[in-house]
Symmetry: C2
Subunit: 123 residues, 2 copies
Amino acid sequence: MESSAAIDRLSALAQPGRLDVFRLLVRAGPDGIPAGEIAATLGLAPNTLSSQLAILVHAGLLTSAREGRVIRYAARPEALSELIVYLMDDCCGGRPEICRPVEEAARAACCAPPKSKTPRVRA
Amino acid sequence: MESSAAIDRLSALAQPGRLDVFRLLVRAGPDGIPAGEIAATLGLAPNTLSSQLAILVHAGLLTSAREGRVIRYAARPEALSELIVYLMDDCCGGRPEICRPVEEAARAACCAPPKSKTPRVRA
DNA sequence: TCCATATTTCGACGAATGTCGAAATATACA
DNA sequence: TGTATATTTCGACATTCGTCGAAATATGGA
C-alpha cells in the first residue's frame, strides 16, 4: 500500500460522520445498506452523506452497487487489513512481543459476539 | 475507546508528516528517537515537527520522555490495538469469515521479518 | 411521455488545519 | 553566571474541509 492511499484512508475515517458510516456498514456486513437508509439511521442530510460516501468509496473503504433506484454501500474489510499492514510495517524486527498486542486485538475484535441490542439485519 | 478519541487518533495519522513520524517510531521500537533526530531523518523543520509531535502525543499514539537536553519519542502500539478494536466493533456477528482477513493481516504484519535494508538500530 | 423517488452535483460560506519566522523555555556545561 | 544546544510556543497566513440550499441526473412505474 502506498503512502498517499494510506493518507486517503485515514483522513476518510477521521471525520465523525464518515467514521459513523463506516462502522455502521462494518456491522451491517457484506449486504450493505442503501444510501437513504444510512442517512435516516445516522440523521445526515442526503447531499451531505453523498459527498461523504464518495470520499469513503474513493479511499477504497466502501463499495457501492446500484439496485434499481437504490444504491447499496458496503464496507470493504480488506481496506482495514491493508491499513494495518502499512502502519505496522517492520514493526517488531525480531521482538514480536512488542506488537503482539495488536495481533491479539485484531483476533479478539474479529470474532467477538455482537454487542448490539437489536438483532442482526436479515438477509 | 470513545468516538472522539478514535477521531483524534485517525486525524493525527491522516497527515503525511505525522504518518511518517509514527511509522518511523514504530520501526524504531520502544527506545524511540529524539525529536531532533526525527526532524533530521524526515527533513522537517524543528518547530513544525514539534507541533506534529504534540498532536500525536495528545492523540495517545506516542509517548515522550526527556533525557537531558533531548526528548525521546516512542510509538505506543496499544494505540493501534484500541483503534482496530473500535473500527471492527461488532464486525462479523456470527460470520467470522468476513473479517478473518483483518486478523490474518495483523498477524502477518506483526511478526514479519524486517524488510529495511539498513540493519536494525542497536539497543 | 409524465411524474415521483433516490441520489448526486454544483457553488458558496464559515471553520479548521499545516507551515513558517520569530521569540521563549529548558537543559548542559564552562 | 553566561553561552550553546534542543525543543517548544506564539502569531499570522494561505489552504483545505464540511455543510448547506438549489438544481441536476437516474430509475421505476402510471
